[in-house]
């Protein structure tokens, strides 16, 4: 009983700390990774609240899908940034390789 309570308290503390770190991270990549970690912790919390259905949805959508979308957004921001800087000072070879063009 006491052990389980301790685990719960630790989970809550880690959740709050991760949420705070994700919110205050200066590096957006770091913030995204922390957010994914937070989603997994929240899904653990749902398990502890005896809601395994919600836990599964949280892990899949809250951590997985949202994480994938955020990483994709970050990459698109990088790509736009690259385009902007290359417009100001065009590098020697600005055209992407076919591989990059496919998946960039």
């Amino acid at each position: 009983m006491n052990l389980i309570l301790t685990v719960d308290v630790i989970l809550v503390v880690i959740m709050l700390v991760t949420a705070w770190l994700a919110l205050t991270a200066r590096d957006l990549q770091r913030a995204v990774i922390l957010f994914i970690a937070l989603g997994l912790l929240v899904s653990l919390a749902w398990v502890r609240l005896q809601a395994p259905d919600v836990a599964m949805a949280e892990a899949a959508v809250g951590a997985g899908l949202t994480g994938a979308l955020l990483i994709s957004t970050l990459n698109s921001m990088r790509e736009l940034q690259k385009k902007k800087t290359s417009e100001v000072t065009p590098p020697a070879d600005a055209s992407p390789t076919p591989q990059e063009a496919n998946h960039a």
């Binding site: 599964m56 949805a57 979308l69 990088r78 940034q81 496919n102 998946h103």
Partner: protein
């Protein structure tokens, strides 16, 4: 690679508005929780008592697909609206993922994809007796689609668009179709005939799972798949 830093900590007007709205939402939710009527326990008992009539043994599935099937019908419609919204706003689909130049990822994805289809079907079937169901199975299907695209094993093209459209509306069509059929047969909306609830639920859930999976995948694609090659 220039990375993105968020140094801006100013309290601008939009941020103050967002802060105020978030605080108001927290206050409202707290108020609702604190002043919730005390007979929630009674509702719980009533639902559990009638569980045997619902056609499934998992109380969550019973509530989602039987007792409160109408809510789930609207949820499926909301998911479809989300994709329609994205398709209306995005000029073209484009997935921003850097693919590592290694055959391991593609091989792994090819191996794991069929297993994911199996798992999603298992989760759907499991939903009748244990945690699982259309949303969980659909999430696995959606994850499969995202993995597929992210590993660049395959990219959705124009031909895929028609298939995607059919899959997207399948869940809503099955749900509305079943409800309408039940209205004609039983005389009431979303009320399954006694003893046959499980079959109806299974058909609706299967269609909903496919639509949910396709919806999640299309959210990741982020626009209408229309180019045959190059960007997705």
């Amino acid at each position: 690679m220039p990375d993105f830093y968020d140094d801006d900590a100013r309290l601008t007007r939009p941020r103050i508005v967002a802060l105020a709205l978030s605080a108001a939402l927290v206050a409202l939710l707290s108020l609702i929780i604190l002043t919730a009527p005390g007979d929630l326990e009674r509702l719980n008992l009533v639902a559990r008592e009638r569980l045997t009539e619902s056609g499934v043994a998992n109380p969550v599935t019973a509530v989602l697909l039987n007792f409160r099937g109408y809510d789930t019908l609207l949820e499926v419609a909301v998911l479809l609206l989300a994709v329609i919204g994205i398709w209306s706003m995005a000029r073209y689909a484009r997935v921003w993922i850097k693919v590592p130049d290694t055959p391991v990822l593609a091989a792994f994805v090819r191996l794991v994809l069929p297993l994911m289809v199996l798992v999603s079907g298992y989760l759907l079937w499991l939903g009748a007796d244990a945690p699982g169901g259309a949303f969980q199975g659909g999430a696995v299907l959606g994850g499969m689609g995202i993995l597929w695209i992210a590993a660049a094993v395959w990219l959705p093209d124009f031909q895929f668009q028609r298939f995607a459209r059919v899959m997207l509306v399948l869940g809503l069509i099955a749900f509305v179709g079943a409800s309408t059929l039940l209205l004609a047969l039983e005389g009431s909306f979303m009320e399954y005939p006694a003893g046959e609830a499980k079959n109806w639920i299974l058909v609706i859930e299967s269609a909903a799972m496919i639509s949910i999976g396709m919806t999640l995948m299309m959210l990741f694609v982020g626009g209408i798949p229309r180019l045959n090659e190059g960007t997705v």
